[in-house]
C-alpha cells in the first residue's frame, strides 16, 4: 500500500489540531472499511490518516429528550444491536444490518458512510428519512448541516478539510410513527444497492391517515436524494394503495439514475417505484405497532 502517516487522536481537540495542520490531504478515519480500501487501490492518496474512533464524542449513543445522539464513529453492530434504536429508529437499524457483512459491521460507522458520500450508501437514505442533522466541529466554530444537504456529489460533501463530523442528531420520534430502509441487490447480502429507499411516516391515532412522511432515495443520483414531493403528497391522505402509488410515481420523478453495471437507468427508475411502495407499507406497519415480515436482503 502507498505510504502515509497514521496518528491516533484521543480527544476531539487533538483531532481538530491535527486536522488543521495544512498538509496536503489529511483524512480522518473511523472504521476504515472504505478508506483503507480506497488508499490501497489508489483512489485516495492521503499523506496522513487521523484515527478518530477512540474519541469520546464520536462514540456517543444516547437517547434523550432531544432525540438520538449518534456519534459519527459508532460501529454498525452497536446500532442494530440497540433495542431502542431498532424500535424507534428502525430504518437506521435496517441499514446498519445490511452494510457489508458482519465483519464490516464490526468497524464501519454511519458517520463514515455519510462522509464517504457514495451515491449508493445504505445508511444515508435512512439518516435523511429520519431527519438527521450532521453536527460538525471545526477549530473556529461548529456548525450543523441537514443530512439531506450534506452530500454534494459522488465522494463529495460539505466538510472543509479541517472539519470533522462529530455526531448525527435525530429528532424524537412522534407517536404512531415508523420507518424502514431496504435496497434491491441481485444477491441476498454483501452487495451494493442497485436502488435503496428509506422512509419514515407518522400516522394519526387510528393509523389510517398520514400526518407526515419523509422519503429518501439511494443510488439514483449523484447523491442520496430527498423525495420531498412524494412525501408531501402523503400528508393528510388515507393509507391505501392509491396514495402509495401516487407517492411512488412522485419518487420516480425525482430519480435521475445512470446506467451502469448494476442496472440501467430505466430499471432503476422502475425499482424506485416498487421499493417506495414496499418501504412505505413496512413503515406504516411499524407505525401501527404491527410485526413485519422482513428478512434483511429479501
Amino acid at each position: 500500500m502507498r505510504d502515509f502517516d497514521y496518528e491516533m487522536a484521543t480527544t476531539l481537540e487533538e483531532a481538530l489540531v491535527l486536522m488543521s495542520m495544512h498538509e496536503p490531504d489529511i483524512r480522518p478515519m473511523a472504521g476504515g472499511t472504505d478508506l483503507i480500501d480506497h488508499v490501497r487501490n489508489g483512489h485516495l492518496s492521503p499523506e496522513r490518516l487521523i484515527d478518530v474512533k477512540r474519541i469520546r464524542e464520536l462514540n456517543v449513543l444516547e437517547l434523550d429528550d432531544e432525540g438520538l445522539h449518534l456519534g459519527a464513529a459508532v460501529p454498525c453492530y452497536k446500532i442494530h444491536g440497540h433495542a431502542e434504536i431498532v424500535s424507534r429508529y428502525s430504518a437506521l437499524a435496517d441499514s446498519c444490518h445490511i452494510i457489508g457483512g458482519i465483519q464490516i459491521q464490526s468497524r464501519a460507522s454511519v458517520g463514515g458512510n455519510i462522509c464517504n458520500s457514495g451515491p449508493a450508501a445504505d445508511a444515508t437514505p435512512s439518516v435523511i428519512a429520519l431527519d438527521g442533522v450532521c453536527v460538525i466541529a471545526a477549530p473556529q466554530f461548529d456548525r450543523e448541516v441537514a443530512s439531506a444537504d450534506f452530500c454534494t456529489g459522488p465522494g463529495q460533501n460539505v466538510l472543509e478539510p479541517d472539519e470533522l463530523l462529530v455526531e448525527i442528531r435525530f429528532p424524537p420520534q412522534p407517536p404512531h410513527s415508523g420507518s424502514h430502509y431496504r435496497r434491491f441487490i441481485p444477491r441476498n447480502e454483501m452487495d451494493i444497492a442497485v436502488v435503496g429507499v428509506g422512509a419514515s411516516v407518522q400516522l394519526d391515532e387510528s393509523g389510517q391517515t398520514f400526518l407526515a412522511a419523509r422519503i429518501a432515495l439511494g443510488a439514483v443520483g449523484p447523491t442520496p436524494l430527498l423525495a420531498s414531493e412524494a412525501a408531501e403528497l402523503l400528508v393528510g391522505q388515507p393509507v391505501n394503495d392509491e396514495t402509495l402509488s401516487l407517492a411512488a410515481e412522485a419518487a420516480r420523478r425525482v430519480a435521475s439514475p445512470i446506467t451502469d453495471m448494476r442496472g440501467t437507468a430505466e430499471y432503476r427508475t422502475h425499482l424506485v417505484g416498487v421499493l417506495t411502495q414496499r418501504v412505505l407499507r413496512h413503515a406504516v406497519a411499524r407505525a401501527r405497532g404491527e410485526a413485519i415480515e422482513y428478512q434483511p436482503g429479501h
Binding site: 502517516d5 483503507i36 487501490n41 457489508g100 458482519i102 454483501m190
Partner: protein, 160 residues
Amino acid sequence: MAKERVVTTTINGKEVEFQCQSRQTLLESLRDQLGLTGTKEGCSNGNCGACTVIMNGRPVVSCLVLAMEASYAELRTIEGIGSEAGLDELQQCFLEGAALQCGVCTPGFIVQADALLKENPDPTEEEIRFYLAGNLCRCTGYDKIVRAVQAAAQARKVSK
C-alpha cells in the same frame, strides 16, 4: 509522526510485540512479521473474509485493519481456535463434513463461525448463512460449510 512503530498487542492470550509501518495491514503483520500464516489473504479488499480474525471480541477482516490499530488490542486468530489437546469442534466438523476443498477460505470461515456460535449457540440455517455472508468459498458451494456449522453447534451443546 512515526511511519514505523513497535506495537504491543495480545494474540491468542499471549502478549507480543512487533514492528510495523503505518501502511501495513494487520493481515500483513500477522503473516509476515509474526509468522501466523493460518490467517489467509484472499481479496485484500474486504469482500472475501479469508483474513477474518477476532479483534476485541468482534470479527473483523484483517486486510481492512491497520497493524497500528492493533496496539493494545485483544486478538484471536485461527491458531487460537484449537488447543494443544486437539481440534476444536468446529475444526473437527469441517474435517468430517468435508466442508473444504482448497482450504484458503477455511480459517476465515472457522473464525467467523466461532464468533457466530459464541453469540448465538443454536442458530437457524438462515442465521448461519446471514452471519457467514461475508465469507466467500469458491469451491464447495456452502452447503457443506453450513452443515458443518450446524454439526459443531450440536457438538458444543453436547460437550457442555
